[in-house]
């Protein structure tokens, strides 16, 4: 999971916040409330999960409960791996 977390954080930091500063994003920061992701960003995040982290996302799983912060995405990946 650590590797996945590192990859996910790097992806979000570089692609949406355009920074390498690890302090710019906390693991519980809401992507929507903080304006980090818009609808295009969500599509990109899903592609990343599918292509880089081998985690497929079904239509009804595209919800803030699953995809709205680093921790929520990691928890979602975890459920999918079981």
């Amino acid at each position: 999971m650590d590797e996945k977390k590192i990859a996910l954080r790097k992806f979000v930091l570089e692609n949406y916040l355009f920074t390498e500063d690890e302090g710019a994003l906390k693991d519980d920061d809401s992507f929507l409330d903080n304006g980090i992701l818009d609808s295009m960003g969500v599509l990109e995040l899903i592609s990343f999960l599918e292509e880089e982290l081998s985690t497929s996302v079904e239509g009804d799983e595209v919800t803030p409960d699953n995809l709205d912060s680093i921790n929520k995405v990691l928890a979602f990946i975890e459920t999918r791996s079981h």
């Binding site: 570089e14 304006g35 595209v62 919800t63």
Partner: protein, 638 residues
């Protein structure tokens, strides 16, 4: 249209008359606005240069024009469309004319009415009028800001011109960029009037005149685009009839010209209406010009062809692709003289090139109808958001937005959450003055992520505060629909659409645009219409559609509105122009200008180069950064 520039040395004891060579240099910088002729005047501390694009009275309309007693000196850019009627009135009042030009009408009108003369003009104009006897300079701009006019004060001298590049030769310390104006552009797409991207350089605001003498500079507003709740009591049928007659007259007087006049044809209702009216009421065959895109989702060719066939016009079109936009981008920015957030002005510059290549100097367009009659999607969007705000937890109300924007790239799953994250902004304050525009501005403002720490530290007054301060207090009493229209006309129309995407893209190829929908009689008429007459339910520009139904084919009247859009600049990063873009985005260039964080820009660039689609904010950021860098190099560094 034409271009002019000048200097008023306001030193108390007469001042120094500007050297002709300096005035000539100023004029040379805007030669594209008037390639046909040059005229220079300089005496008594005042000097001006005029570059002429000959359209009316080709033989005797030269400028600067002096009054018969030589006490008035006039340079003028634009057209007075009612000059024929004004001239007749003045003749009956005893005025004698030596030319057939609209320019001379201005001189006589000023002699007759003083400062109030401007209220008699129906047209698009920027005027500099020097009254020698009282040593007073008037700088005047048309009601909605079709013709540009800028000024600055440099070591006691007032320096003015049609474009900022004309001022440059007269400035002792050159030009620098304003961090606050950049903040405004990266929010509203244009600086808040009277600001420009250049520090201490201001525009004469639309509908204003500056009265300048040796001790004071006064700004007087002579016209305001305003709404009141005292709506017209006319029946729908009467309103449709009145609009019909007004639009015909507004179009007809805009056909007055001593050179051939053509029309733009986008395929939408507005340009189709104007083209159809020219065809019906003009006395020469209609000549039309269109823009096409090789990316199908931007293109409107089929609708253009419908009109071409119906009106039997001689038609030319230009096909534009992402590569063309990338190649023309730098030259476009030289002419906009301002950063832009979207590439849309670039194809408009290519289209005016087509007009020029066909030896036309004047085109009529449908510009302004969406502002005057409330046609933009943002007005519908605000209506839906306001409806939604009455029941914010409703699951179905926000889905109306998906119908409004069928091309929205929403992820499957829970749409509402993502609709809410964008359109749900300010949902708890539907009566706030800027409610209609908050989602758009918030998206644009995300581009400020790339501002450097240094730039952020120089921002004293935030863009929203500057805008709010510029709005009249009576705006809160306007109906919500009218309020949205007012904000649209104040922020985007004059600063961006008529300027960066309008006058600058036309005049770069010495082409004059004329806009019947922006006739002030039409604006005043529409301002008195009840909002429900403008947008009936969700049917935008209802009254206009009715008035034009006998001229424009049904399939154009009934088609869904397609906003004018162009391919994004990032698609050009991997083309020939890409190499030039790399230069502007290099660490060293970004470091020199100091406005953007090189590290963040590098990451955005990397993302764009991978060829993945950028979000709206990211694409706007890339376009904004590139164009700011080009403005910096073109006008500050060099």
């Amino acid at each position: 249209m034409c271009g002019f520039a000048g200097i008023f040395d306001r030193a108390v004891h007469g001042g120094v008359s500007p050297p002709a060579e300096l005035l000539r240099d100023m004029g040379q910088n805007i030669r594209h606005r008037g390639p046909d002729d040059e005229g220079i005047y300089s005496a008594q501390g005042f000097g001006c240069v005029h570059r002429r694009l000959s359209i009316i009275d080709l033989a005797t309309g030269q400028q600067p024009m002096l009054s018969q007693d030589a006490n008035l000196v006039l340079v003028f850019n634009g057209e007075i469309f009612n000059f024929v009627e004004l001239r007749e009135q003045l003749v009956t009042q005893g005025h004698q004319f030596t030319t057939n030009s609209d320019t001379e009408v201005i001189l006589h009108l000023y002699q007759r009415h003083g400062l109030d003369f401007v209220s008699h003009l129906n047209g698009q104009f920027a005027i500099a009028l020097w009254d020698k006897r009282i040593e007073q300079l008037l700088l005047i701009r048309d009601r909605v800001g079709i013709c540009p006019l800028f000024y600055t004060v440099d070591q006691g001298k007032l320096v003015f011109g049609s474009e900022v590049k004309a001022l440059k030769p007269a400035l002792s310390n050159g030009l620098s960029l304003s961090a606050e104006a950049l903040d405004q552009i990266f929010t509203f797409w244009a600086p808040v009037s009277p600001n420009t991207i250049f520090k201490n350089v201001f525009e004469v605001p639309p509908g204003h005149m500056m009265v300048v003498d040796r001790s004071t500079i006064k700004s007087i507003q002579y016209w305001e685009w305003s709404y009141d709740e005292d709506y017209s009591q006319a029946s729908e049928e009467q309103s449709i009839g009145e609009l019909h007659d007004l639009l015909i007259d507004a179009t007809k007087i805009r056909l007055r010209s001593d050179v051939p006049v053509g029309a733009y044809l986008s395929g939408g209702l507005d340009s189709s209406s104007i083209a159809a009216l020219i065809n019906q009421y003009g006395d020469v065959p209609l000549r039309t010009f269109s823009l096409n895109f090789d990316q199908g989702n931007f293109d409107e060719a089929s609708f253009q062809q419908t009109l071409v066939k119906k009106l039997c016009t001689e038609h030319s079109n230009i096909m534009v692709g992402a590569d063309d936009i990338a190649r023309a981008f730098k030259n476009t920015i030289y002419h906009t003289e301002s950063p832009i957030l979207r590439t849309a002005p670039v194809p408009m510059g290519l289209l005016s090139g087509l007009v020029k290549d066909n030896n036309f100097k004047v085109v009529l367009t449908g510009e302004g109808a969406d502002e005057v009659f409330g046609g933009y999607d943002i007005f519908k969007e605000a209506k839906v958001r306001r409806f939604w705000s009455r029941n914010p937890n409703s699951q179905w109300r926000p889905l109306l937005l998906k119908r409004l924007y069928p091309y929205l790239n929403l992820p499957s799953g829970n749409h509402n959450v993502y609709l809410k994250s964008f359109f749900g902004q300010a949902l708890d304050s539907p009566d706030s003055v800027c409610f209609s525009h908050i989602p758009r501005w918030t998206t644009t403002a995300k581009a400020k992520t790339f501002f450097s720490d240094d730039l952020n530290s120089h921002l004293r007054n935030k863009a929203m505060d500057v805008l709010m301060e510029s709005l009249p207090s009576k705006i809160s009493s306007y109906n919500a629909f009218n309020r949205a229209q007012y904000i649209e006309s104040k922020t985007l129309m004059s600063g961006y659409l008529l300027n960066s995407q309008g006058d600058r893209m036309l005049m770069k190829n010495s082409v004059e645009g004329r806009f019947p929908f922006l006739d002030h009689r039409l604006i005043e008429f529409a301002s008195k219409l009840h909002p429900k007459t403008k947008m009936k339910g969700m049917n935008e520009k209802y009254v206009l559609k009715k008035a034009m139904s006998r001229y424009v084919p049904d399939e154009i009247i009934q088609r869904s509105k397609q906003p004018y859009r162009a391919p994004d600049v990032n698609t050009g990063l991997n083309t020939l122009a890409g190499e030039e873009f790399q230069y502007y985005l290099s660490d060293s260039m970004l470091g020199q200008s100091g406005f953007f964080s090189p590290g963040k820009v590098a990451m955005l660039q990397k993302k764009a180069e991978k060829g993945k689609p950028l979000s709206t904010s990211e694409s706007q950021a890339l376009t904004g950064i590139l164009s700011t860098q080009i403005v910096y190099e073109s006008f500050v560094k060099n």
